[in-house]
């Protein structure tokens, strides 16, 4: 049977949710030049909040959607505390220092989560409206995977519009290009940085809530998605949202093809692609060389 088409479809269903995880990461780096290692921890917190709020039982569609958005909002609010309390003091200290700071935050979040929610993993059932599957060209795709793809595409469009068509987006781009110059021109760089960081945290919480129903909510979540998200961000180009989308979908398809035709290679497929990209085009698909110099 022809397995190629199902592999591609399955890869897209994998890649777009991966972009959802990577989107906040690349946004924060693009504007603030902060590689936030704690992004995985914030994703984990979003997943925990979502599953805890709904109690694991099947709920109505609106309650489900509300909980997803609510998880994102709460993690965004947490981002205010984190940005004000920690990252804002580290912007001028260099990339290495903010990297260490974010790693410390990750350790804190993965340590505190079991204290709050216990050691046993949590699950969250889907509402009946989102249960079931659709078969496309031999590939069984669950209805919820369509929802994940839809949310991912929506986030991609939303971020594009935000960065290109809004005042905040223009200011964020200015801060990303030259923080001091932007400040000299009247842009409140600290406020813009804070808002972008909070948006990144919102996206992390949202991503955590979206992946929770198809995964197990535990501390493993902090590392499980984030390594592949980092790969997507670097391959797409640090700071490029469009690049992260193309890379995430591409990686999803490559992963799916490896599972189908080369299963022994699949665990390493992302990292092989990453190594090739760093060798041939270190700035990534749509990244800029000057960004690499800053990193």
């Amino acid at each position: 049977m022809n397995l190629l088409l199902p592999a591609i479809i399955g890869g897209i269903a994998y890649g777009v949710p991966l972009f959802l995880v990577a989107s906040g990461l690349t946004l924060v780096y693009g504007v603030l030049r902060v590689l936030n290692f704690a992004h995985g921890g914030l994703l984990m917190v979003g997943a925990y909040l979502f599953a805890w709020a709904l109690g694991g039982r099947s709920v109505s569609l609106w309650a489900f959607i509300g909980a997803i958005v609510g998880a994102g909002v709460v993690v965004g609010l947490l981002g205010i505390l984190v940005e004000r309390g920690m990252f804002s003091r580290l912007y001028g200290a260099g990339t290495e220092v903010s990297l260490l700071g974010s790693y410390g935050l990750l350790l804190f979040l993965t340590g505190i989560a079991p204290v709050i929610w216990g050691n046993a993993p949590l699950t969250q059932a889907l509402p009946s409206a989102l249960a079931g599957k659709v078969t496309i060209a031999g590939a069984a795709v669950s209805v919820f995977e369509f929802v994940e793809v839809g949310v991912g595409v929506g986030v991609a469009i939303g971020l594009f519009l935000l960065l290109k068509r809004t005042r905040l987006g223009v200011q964020a781009t200015a801060v990303a290009e030259d923080r001091e110059m932007a400040r000299a021109l009247g842009v409140r760089a600290a406020r813009v940085s804070g808002l972008v960081f909070v948006l990144g945290c919102f996206l992390a919480g949202l991503a955590g809530a979206v992946v929770a129903p198809t995964s197990a909510v535990s501390v493993d979540l902090a590392s499980s998605f984030i390594l592949t998200a980092f790969a997507a961000v670097i391959i797409g180009g640090l700071g490029s949202v469009e690049g992260a989308l193309i890379a995430a979908v591409g990686l999803g398809i490559i992963d799916s093809l490896c599972v189908t035709y080369l299963p022994s290679v699949e665990p390493y497929s992302f990292y092989i692609v990453l190594a090739v990209m760093l060798t041939l085009r270190p700035q990534g698909l749509l990244g800029r060389r000057q960004a690499l110099g800053q990193f």
Partner: protein, 423 residues
């Protein structure tokens, strides 16, 4: 002059370091020479090593509870060695060999005679020689395998009260063919580590059906991975034979098993297989699915608390619920429970509380446990020979923990561990 000053400071520093080292080793030897200090006060402390935080924390938590239940029961019955009470001390060490070695050394310094070892194989491998050198009897409630307990084992005083993956595979190879005689192909999804990758070959080799079973495809992912969507999608497209002829083996564990089954349920993959089998404790993931767990054939040391109707198990479950209301014992709880029963037996039988006497007393000891009476292996194997249990668990919203056992088989420990005896 500057050179002289530097040399003088270096010399003073060196002497200070030597004084500290000598002081620490003197304290250590004082503690060791007073070994039995944990006994002399009328109390004997048993140790348990494992992480109480992090991804595998639940295993240690369950083991701690199981051990505590056994200790409370033994103390209520009069203790050991004519009235001495038992106590439990847990070393909360991260899941890494260096931490386990440190914990074992600390137990040695405190005079702890018996430690219910580690929860993870690399940690057991690291701490076993330390236990032996410090005179500690090591009964691991988490690690098993021919290299640790078989005839060619390196550490003569290491015992295991854990179920071994080869025993689980043997049991599945004997039970599944009878229930699913038409299955010819096996798909495997697991974590990329030794127990995860070799279990399928054990099952192939021990399959007791009229026709052999063949591993059709196997997929292994890095430990702790929770995203299986590519694998689920691929299996969905390629597993096209009649459902009665193909089975699925999961060698993931914990959150990984949970995540994989959720994706399989949502994509309808569950229905493509005659059976789904698991070898690393399905009970916890089944509970987490809150009454909606798919039916999975689990093979391990205990599998399900409600499957054994005898006075020992009834009391074990009842006492467990007292210390952990609403939580039922798991395989890890069972393994630690029988480890303590065995430790108490060894303490009662040994002439003196030292490693040689305790080890000799434990070999061949008969234990009356929740799954029945069994023997601790003799000189040939230090594996606890409790029966290997094969049970099909699934969700039941009306059950107190949302789980029900739909079928149950037991394979005698002497048979199921026969693979390990040859390693």
């Amino acid at each position: 002059m500057r050179h002289l000053a530097v040399r003088r400071r270096a010399g003073v520093g060196l002497m200070a370091m030597m004084a500290v080292v000598i002081g620490i080793s003197a304290c250590g030897s004082n503690a060791k020479s007073a070994s039995g200090s944990s006994q002399s006060s009328g109390k004997i402390t048993l140790g348990l090593i494992g992480p109480l935080s992090g991804p595998v924390a639940q295993t240690t938590t369950d083991a701690r509870r199981g051990a505590q239940v056994a200790i409370d029961q033994i103390n209520a019955a009069g203790g050991v060695r004519g009235g001495q009470k038992l106590a439990l001390k847990v070393a909360n060490e991260p899941a890494d060999p260096a931490g386990s070695v440190t914990a074992m050394r600390n137990f040695g310094s405190e005079g702890v005679p018996i430690v219910m070892g580690d929860m993870l194989s690399p940690d057991c491998d690291a701490s076993a020689p330390v236990a032996q050198s410090l005179g500690i009897l090591d009964i691991s409630a988490g690690c098993a395998g021919g290299n640790l307990t078989g005839p060619k084992r390196e550490f003569k005083t290491f015992f295991s009260s854990a179920g071994s993956d080869s025993a689980q595979a043997y049991a599945l190879g004997h039970v599944l063919p009878a229930r699913y005689p038409k299955v010819r192909n096996l798909y495997v999804v697991g974590y990329d580590y030794l127990p995860g990758t070799q279990t399928a070959s054990y099952i192939e080799n021990t399959w007791k059906g009229k026709e052999p079973i063949k591993v059709k495809k196997q997929y292994f992912v890095p430990l702790t991975q929770l995203n299986f969507s590519s694998i689920v999608s691929t299996i969905g497209a390629s597993a096209t034979a009649a459902p009665g002829t193909q089975g699925l083996l999961l060698t993931t564990y914990g959150s990984g098993t949970l995540a994989l089954l959720q994706e399989m349920q949502q994509s309808g993959l569950i229905n493509k297989f005659a059976f789904i089998a698991a070898t690393f404790m399905y009970y916890q993931p089944a509970v987490a699915l809150k009454g909606k767990a798919p039916k999975v054939v689990d093979s391990y040391s205990y599998v399900y608390w409600g499957a054994f109707h005898n006075s020992v198990n009834n009391k074990f479950v009842a006492d467990y619920l007292k210390i952990a209301p609403g939580q039922y014992p798991s395989d890890w709880s069972f393994q630690a429970y029988v480890a303590v029963l065995a430790a108490a037996k060894a303490l009662d039988k040994a002439k003196k509380v030292n490693l040689a006497d305790l080890s000799s007393a434990l070999e061949g000891a008969t234990i009356n446990g929740p799954t029945g009476t069994f023997q601790v292996g003799g000189a040939d194997s230090h594996q606890f020979l409790f029966p290997t249990v094969v049970g099909q668990l699934g969700g039941d919203p009306s059950a107190p923990d949302g789980v029900k056992a739909f079928s149950l088989n037991t394979i005698p420990g002497e048979l199921s561990n026969s693979i390990a005896f040859k390693e």
